[in-house]
Structures are given as structure tokens and as C-alpha cells.
């Protein structure tokens, strides 16, 4: 190499005279090195060409990098870049044409191996050529001329001379897809070769749409995958059960994931998984869920939680399919719930019903917890299902109240505080599902009143904690009446204490009432307690005297109040003498009145109309209480007619031969089956008891006025929505009834319709 040195020591610029005060630079034009003419340029190139050939022949280690670099450098520097560029290009092309010939002759079995080997060789050699000979050219000439860097020239040549040969590409593609298919069938394949071929495709083709990898492989591969899984899943589904399918799908997904890791390009991953998930999961999700004998229903019926969990985990890959699964569970719960409600209609056992609901709840909570990984959405779905079937039957509120009543009367007996609390909590969870919370309140209030007045509660603590729980659920307003009831009981106790003290004081001063009647009074606040509305009956005189005294005492301290006596409630203890045997009978107030009529009558009978007339007890109640006194076990009265029922003109006498082992005899009331059935049916059909209906009317009106007062004007729909929202804690108002209330308020001139828009209401102050 004899090109003139460019960096000789010869000065090419002069410094101004060093002794002048200011240094002055005089820069002369750079004296260019002697021109390298075309002939010597070609000679240099032929040297380089030989070097490239040596590189191809694996003899690179003897070449001097510096020499090659310098030669190429000088060529480019002296404007012969093109000679070098086109030279390298044609050199590489002709070499690759030869390689292509060889590769194309290889057999199918080895074509992949050969082509990837050719690629690796090419890649290595091109790197060497680029680094040594073409580095400077790439940096300067290529950039200035806006040509392709030499490496890309090499890639293009590889594509054109080798890959795009029909006898290479077509075969490689075929073999490649064949290998994948073989692997899917479970055979072992040489993953390394597949990977290196795919890496090659990525490298020679550039990325993105139209790249060799995408165009010549990925497209076909994905298409094939789709076909394969469409066929396989269809076939598998018809022959196997849902859990088997789920297992198989999981397996397939794992395989495909491994495939991605093993040899596919990263960007293929999501596309591949998308296709596989679509074919394996999305397409068949519904069929799987609904599959007879192994679908979700079967899993739930047979407690196959693990299978359900597997299915959930599979479906989770395609979030939209989980909805199908959740809906299936939800539907199942609804169906089960409906069945429960229907069973209930047959056996009429509210307690069993509520227990059934609780069991179901426990069970499906477990399902959500275990199979759905505690997923919130699934929990919500199940909750919706419960709400659905519980609210579909308006008696649910009643049943729940009966259930709690049972707990309070006997169910919680002997329970620890904690256990009792847990059981109440469970009842509250069902309470949460109820929409008609006010209906529940109504029933609960009635049963609570009976418990409180009859002293039937297992523990006051439990009663109070239940009310506290309801309060926590629905707020202060909901329980204010219930709390009022407790309050009344407490105050009554104090009042009675005061009254008795005073009585004792009177006795000691000799003023005795003489009748020996002691009374215990519970003073109830009207409104808090369920109203009885029963007419007062005629009490025996001694009792009337006693209550007269209490009234005096009470009104002394609480002037301005009015006491009304609820004779349909309460109990009495009476001493009775049967042929010398003394018994204490514990009976209801009505029974006391009846028995008092027989006092001192001996064997003289009384007829039903007579008793009715004297006592003033309503017919139904009278019959019920009379029957209770005539039962075989507690035969205090004898009735003239035979059989259980009482005829219209029956007559009664005292059964003087009544015996009992106990001194104190408690006479239980026969339950009012016939009568209660009537009221129950009314509640069942109309949905809501009358008292609740009444309450709702007031609540609705109050809510409407409250809202309108704040907003002044509001559209009809907005108003209804707002009312529903405000009252949702107590019940779900039906728009029709809201509309009625609005109309009634308009009539009473609380509201008016807007003149321009009839759908808008305004508030009238």
C-alpha cells in the first residue's frame, strides 16, 4: 500500500511570529495529499477483495485489520467510496449466490440446518467485513450518499440470493410448520434449529408488518394454530367432560407458552396466546359452563370446588368468559333459592327456610372463596342472586322475623355470648339481602313486643345486640321504635316499683283494697308498639279497682297522659279451688275474665253468647281462649258439645274434677291457626302488610316533600330516582306508588306541575 501519508510531520499551517504581542494565526489552505487516481484505487480494491475472500475462507486471523482499514479509509478519503461500496456489494452477492446453490440442493431433512448455518456464517463474515473494511465507509460515505449501510446490503443479498429462492423458502416454511405440528402431537423436535431459523428470519427481514418473519412465518403459523385448535377443541369437547376439557386446555396453554419461550419471537407471544385462548376458551366457554352432567351446575351440586376453581382459573385468561361462569353460578343460586322458597310453601316452616338460606349462603361463600379466589365480582353476583330470590317472595321478611323470634325465645338458650352473636350476625346477613326492610321491621316489632311483654326472651343482652346490629345496618331511624320499646320496659319497671312502694305504704296505714289483686303494669308508648286495636273487654271488678288505683298513681306523676288498657295482652295468676285442691292457674287476661264469670256459680252453665255479652271479648279471641281452657290436658271448663270445635250456642261449666300434679298450672294458648292463616295470606298476596303499607305512604310523602323543598323544581324521573335512593335502606318503592303520592301531594297543594313542562314539579312553600 503506497498511498501518500496523510499525517506526515510536515507542517501544514503556520503560527504567526512568536515574538509579536498578539499571536496571529495564519491558516493556509490544507495541501491535499497527492490524488489517488482511479487505477491505483482499483488496485487497492483488488487487494481488499482478496482480503474479503480470505475472510470467507476463514483465514482472517492472518490479515491486518489496520492495513485493511487504512486501505479502505484512503479509498473513501480520496473519493473512491463508490468503488469500494459497489465492489463489496457485488463480492458479497456473488458469494451468497454460490451458497444459495448449495443450500438449495440440501434435503428436506437438513434444509433448515443448512440455511441456518449459512446464515450464521454470513452474519459472522459480514460483521468482520463491516468492522474492518467498511467501518469508515459506513460512517462517512454511506451517510453522505444516503445509501444502505453495508450490513443491510448483506442482509438484502442474503434475502435475495438465498432465502427467496423457491427451493429454499418454500421448503423451509413447510418443514418448519411441519415440525411445530409434530411437536403439538407430542413428538420431540429439534427446538434449537427451529429457534435459529426463526432468529434468522427476524434478522434478515426487519421488524413489523411485511418483515420476513411476519410474512413468511408468523402469518402461516398463526393460521395453522387456529385451524389446529379449532379442530382439536371441537373434537375434544364432544368426547369429554367439562373438567377434562379444562385440564386439557390448561395443558395446551402451557405448551404454547413454552413454545413461545423456546423459539418464537416475543411479539408472537400475545398473538399466539390470543388465538389459542380464543379457540380453546372463548369459543367454548358457554358450552363448557352449560355442559350436561359435568358443567357448572353439576360441579355446584356435587361440591366439586376444585374443578370449578380450575375452570375459573382457565377462564380468567379471557375476562369476558368469567362473566358467563359467574352468571351460571348466579343462576344456579337463584334456581336453588326458588326451590327453597317453593319447598317452604309446602312445609310452612319459616325457621327451616331461613336455616336453608343460611346453609346456602355458607356454601356459596365457600365457593366464591375457594373457586373464585374470593373475587369481588363473583361475590357480588352471588349476593345479587340471593337478593333476587329472597325478594321475589315477599314472605321472606316475615320468615326471617320468625326465625329471629325463634332464636330469641329458645334458639339461643345455652349459647355463649360469642356464639349467640355469630348466629345473630348470620340473620343480619340475610336481612341485608332484603329490600323490604320495613316489612321485616313490622314483623320483628310484633314478635319483639310479644317477647318483651310475655317475658319470653332468652336474654335481654341478645335482644339488645340484635337491635344494635339492625341499627348499624339501617341507621338510627330504623330502630328508634324498637329502642323505644326497650325504654318503655325499663321505665315500666321503675314505675311499678314506685307504685308498689306506695301501695305498701297505704296498706300499712290500714287502707286495704281488700280484694287481694296485685297488678303489674307495662306502660307502652303508642306508636312504638304494634297497635293492637282490639276493643277493651270487661274486666272483673277487683281488677278494675286495681287498675283504677294504678291509673290514679300514674296520672299523678304524668299528668296529661291517657292510659288505654290492652286487655288482649298480659297474663294473670288466679287461685282456684277444685273440690278442695288448690291450684294456681296462670292464664291470659281474657281467660281470667272468662274464669271470673264462673266464680261462685257452682255447676250452673254459661252459654257462649252469654259469655260473649258479659265479657265483651271479640268472637275469634273468645273461642280461642275458651278452647284453650277445654283441652284434655287443661280441662278447667267442660263444654256441652263434643269434639274440638265450639258451636254457636255451646255452654260451659267448671270442671270441678280438674287435677294436675303441679300446684302452679300454666294454661297454654292454642295457636290461632285458622285466623293467622287469613292474615298471612293477605300479606303473601298483596306483598306487604297493611300497617307497613300505611307507613310507606307516610315515608314516601315525607321523602318527596323533603326532596322538593331542597330542590324547588325537579323532573318527574329525577324525583322518582331520588326518592328510591333515599328510601332504599328501608324498602324499594315502586314507581307507581311514588306517582300516586306525588299526585296526592299535588292535590293537597304541596307541589304543582310546571306550566310549560308537565313533567316538571315545583315545590309550593
Amino acid at each position: 500500500m503506497s498511498s501518500a501519508s496523510s499525517f506526515g510531520g510536515r507542517g501544514s499551517s503556520n503560527v504567526g511570529s512568536s515574538n509579536s504581542a498578539k499571536k496571529k494565526f495564519v491558516i493556509k489552505p490544507y495541501r491535499s495529499a497527492p490524488q489517488v487516481d482511479r487505477a491505483s484505487a482499483l488496485e487497492t480494491w483488488s487487494n481488499l477483495r482478496r482480503a474479503i475472500e480470505e475472510i470467507y475462507n476463514q483465514d482472517a486471523s492472518l490479515l491486518s485489520f489496520e492495513e485493511l482499514y487504512r486501505s479502505a479509509y484512503n479509498l473513501v478519503l480520496h473519493k473512491h467510496g463508490e468503488v469500494l461500496y459497489t465492489g463489496v456489494q457485488s463480492c458479497v452477492e456473488s458469494h451468497l449466490t454460490g451458497v444459495g446453490e448449495t443450500v438449495s440442493k440440501s434435503l428436506d431433512a437438513s434444509v433448515m440446518k443448512n440455511v441456518s448455518a449459512a446464515w450464521e456464517d454470513h452474519d459472522l463474515k459480514m460483521t468482520m467485513v463491516r468492522d474492518s473494511i467498511c467501518m469508515y465507509m459506513d460512517r462517512t460515505y454511506v451517510k453522505q450518499q444516503k445509501k444502505k449501510p453495508i450490513h443491510e446490503v448483506g442482509l438484502q443479498a442474503f434475502r435475495e440470493k438465498i432465502w427467496e429462492r423457491k427451493d429454499v423458502r418454500g421448503r423451509v416454511e413447510r418443514v418448519l410448520l411441519g415440525e411445530v405440528a409434530r411437536e403439538r402431537e407430542g413428538e420431540l423436535v429439534e427446538k434449537d434449529i427451529i429457534r435459529s431459523v426463526l432468529v434468522m428470519l427476524i434478522k434478515i427481514g426487519g421488524r413489523g408488518e411485511g418483515g420476513v418473519y411476519e410474512k413468511d412465518f408468523e402469518e402461516m403459523f398463526l393460521e395453522g394454530t387456529k385451524e389446529f385448535y379449532r379442530r382439536e377443541s371441537q373434537e375434544y369437547l364432544t368426547k369429554n367432560s367439562a373438567p377434562d376439557y379444562v385440564r386439557k386446555a390448561e395443558e395446551r396453554l402451557l405448551h404454547e407458552r413454552n413454545r413461545i419461550a423456546n423459539y418464537l419471537h416475543l411479539t408472537t407471544g400475545p398473538k399466539l396466546m390470543g388465538i389459542v385462548e380464543n379457540e380453546l376458551i372463548t369459543t367454548h366457554a358457554r358450552a363448557l359452563v352449560e355442559m350436561d352432567n359435568s358443567g357448572v351446575v353439576t360441579m355446584l351440586e356435587n361440591d366439586k370446588v376444585t374443578e370449578l376453581m380450575n375452570m375459573y382459573n382457565l377462564f380468567k385468561l379471557v375476562p369476558s368468559t368469567v362473566d358467563i361462569l359467574r352468571d351460571a353460578v348466579c343462576d344456579h343460586v337463584k334456581r336453588k333459592g326458588k326451590q327453597l322458597v317453593q319447598d317452604q310453601e309446602r312445609v310452612k316452616d319459616p325457621i327451616k327456610f331461613v336455616r336453608g338460606v343460611l346453609d346456602m349462603r355458607d356454601r356459596y361463600d365457600q365457593v366464591v372463596e375457594k373457586a373464585f379466589d374470593g373475587e369481588k365480582k363473583a361475590g357480588k353476583k352471588v349476593k345479587e342472586a340471593f337478593e333476587h330470590f329472597i325478594n321475589a317472595d315477599s314472605r321472606s321478611a316475615n320468615y326471617l322475623a320468625v326465625y329471629v323470634d325463634e332464636l330469641m325465645r329458645s334458639g339461643l338458650k345455652g349459647c355463649g355470648e360469642q356464639e349467640a352473636d355469630e348466629r345473630l350476625d348470620k340473620a343480619v346477613t340475610i336481612f341485608r339481602y332484603l329490600q323490604d326492610k320495613d316489612v321485616f321491621e313490622n314483623f320483628y316489632k310484633t314478635s319483639l313486643a310479644k317477647r318483651l311483654l310475655g317475658g319470653k326472651s332468652v336474654s335481654d343482652e341478645c335482644e339488645k345486640s340484635m337491635v344494635a346490629k339492625l341499627k348499624a345496618e339501617c341507621g338510627y331511624q330504623y330502630t328508634s321504635k324498637l329502642e323505644g320499646m326497650f325504654n318503655d320496659m325499663r321505665i315500666s319497671k321503675d314505675t311499678m316499683k314506685g307504685y308498689k312502694d306506695e301501695m305498701r305504704g297505704e296498706k300499712s296505714t290500714g287502707e286495704d283494697d281488700g280484694d287481694g289483686v296485685e297488678i303489674d303494669v307495662d306502660v307502652l308508648t303508642t306508636g312504638y308498639w304494634p297497635s293492637q286495636g282490639d276493643p277493651q273487654c270487661h274486666l272483673p271488678e277487683p281488677v278494675t279497682n286495681a287498675i283504677g288505683k294504678f291509673e290514679q298513681y300514674y296520672l299523678k306523676t304524668h299528668s296529661g297522659r291517657k292510659l288505654a288498657w290492652q286487655t288482649s295482652l298480659g297474663t294473670a295468676e288466679i287461685k282456684a279451688c277444685f273440690e278442695g285442691r288448690r291450684h294456681e292457674l296462670i292464664v291470659s287476661t281474657y281467660q281470667m275474665c272468662i274464669l271470673a264469670l264462673f266464680d261462685g256459680r257452682g255447676d250452673k252453665p254459661l252459654t257462649l253468647p252469654e259469655i260473649k255479652q258479659i265479657s265483651g271479648i271479640p268472637n275469634n279471641e273468645l273461642r280461642r281462649h275458651l278452647i284453650s281452657l277445654c283441652t284434655p290436658k287443661h280441662k278447667i271448663l267442660k263444654k256441652a258439645s263434643k269434639g274440638k270445635a265450639i258451636s254457636e250456642d255451646d255452654s260451659f261449666t267448671v270442671n270441678s274434677s280438674f287435677t294436675s300434679k303441679l300446684k302452679r298450672v300454666k294454661v297454654p294458648l292454642v295457636s290461632m291457626k285458622e285466623t293467622s292463616k287469613g292474615s298471612d295470606a293477605a300479606a303473601g298476596n298483596g306483598g306487604v302488610p297493611k300497617a307497613v303499607e300505611e307507613d310507606r305512604r307516610h315515608l314516601l310523602e315525607a321523602a318527596i316533600v323533603r326532596i322538593m323543598k331542597a330542590r324547588k323544581t325537579l323532573k318527574h324521573n329525577d324525583l322518582i330516582a331520588e326518592v328510591s335512593r333515599q328510601l332504599s335502606a328501608r324498602f324499594a318503592p315502586d314507581p307507581q306508588s311514588v306517582k300516586k303520592r306525588i299526585e296526592s301531594l299535588i292535590e293537597r297543594e304541596y307541589l304543582e306541575r310546571n306550566q310549560d313542562d308537565r313533567k316538571v314539579y315545583s315545590y309550593l312553600a
Binding site: S5, F7, A60, S61, F65, E66, Y69, D131, S132
Partner: protein, 103 residues
């Protein structure tokens, strides 16, 4: 350090046009893109660890090596970077050699 140090060694030998030999660490030498490519290739220089520069004078090569040290020292440095002094009469040749060495 032996003149024909093996490629794995820490030092390489750079030889100027006049035959002056400079021993520099690989790290410093590889500041130059060209030298880096040479040392990472599988050709003679990579094996021998000797790189002749028949077209670069001793003075210019020395300055170039100084610059490599300078660059290595102050790249990403937070301290104040001192000026790298270049004699004006050497400037153009240095420019040429930097172009050659891809500095």
C-alpha cells in the same frame, strides 16, 4: 510488559509511523472506535496486541493517546473539566487522525 503481549493482556502496543512504541491499557485504547473494532476482531491485531499506525507521526499519536486518557477521565465526571490543550500547528493533523481513529 512484553512487546508481543497476548490479546488477553491489559496493555496493547501502539506503534507510530517513526516506529515509536506506546504501551497503553486496553481500556484507554478502546476509547477509539477504530482500535476497539481492531481489538475485538479476530484478525492479526487482536491476536498480537500490536497495532502499527504507519501514517500517524509520534507527536500526533502521543497527543491522541493523551486525549484518550483525558476522555476516559472526564467522561461523566462531576468535577470541573480542564481544557485539553492542543498546539495549533498540530490541530489539523490531529483532526485527521481523530477521524481515522473514530474518536
Amino acid at each position: 510488559m512484553s512487546a508481543d503481549a497476548p490479546s488477553g493482556a491489559d496493555f496493547v502496543k501502539l506503534v507510530s509511523a517513526e516506529g515509536h512504541e506506546f504501551f497503553v491499557t486496553r481500556k484507554v485504547a478502546m476509547v477509539s472506535g477504530t482500535i476497539r473494532a481492531m481489538l475485538e476482531s479476530s484478525m492479526k491485531e487482536a491476536n498480537s496486541g500490536v497495532i502499527p499506525f504507519p501514517e500517524i507521526s509520534t507527536a500526533v499519536l502521543e497527543k491522541t493517546i493523551q486525549y484518550c486518557h483525558y476522555k476516559l477521565r472526564y467522561t461523566n465526571s462531576t468535577t470541573k473539566i480542564p481544557e485539553f490543550k492542543i498546539e495549533p500547528d498540530m490541530a489539523l493533523e490531529l483532526l485527521m487522525s481523530s477521524n481515522y481513529l473514530d474518536l
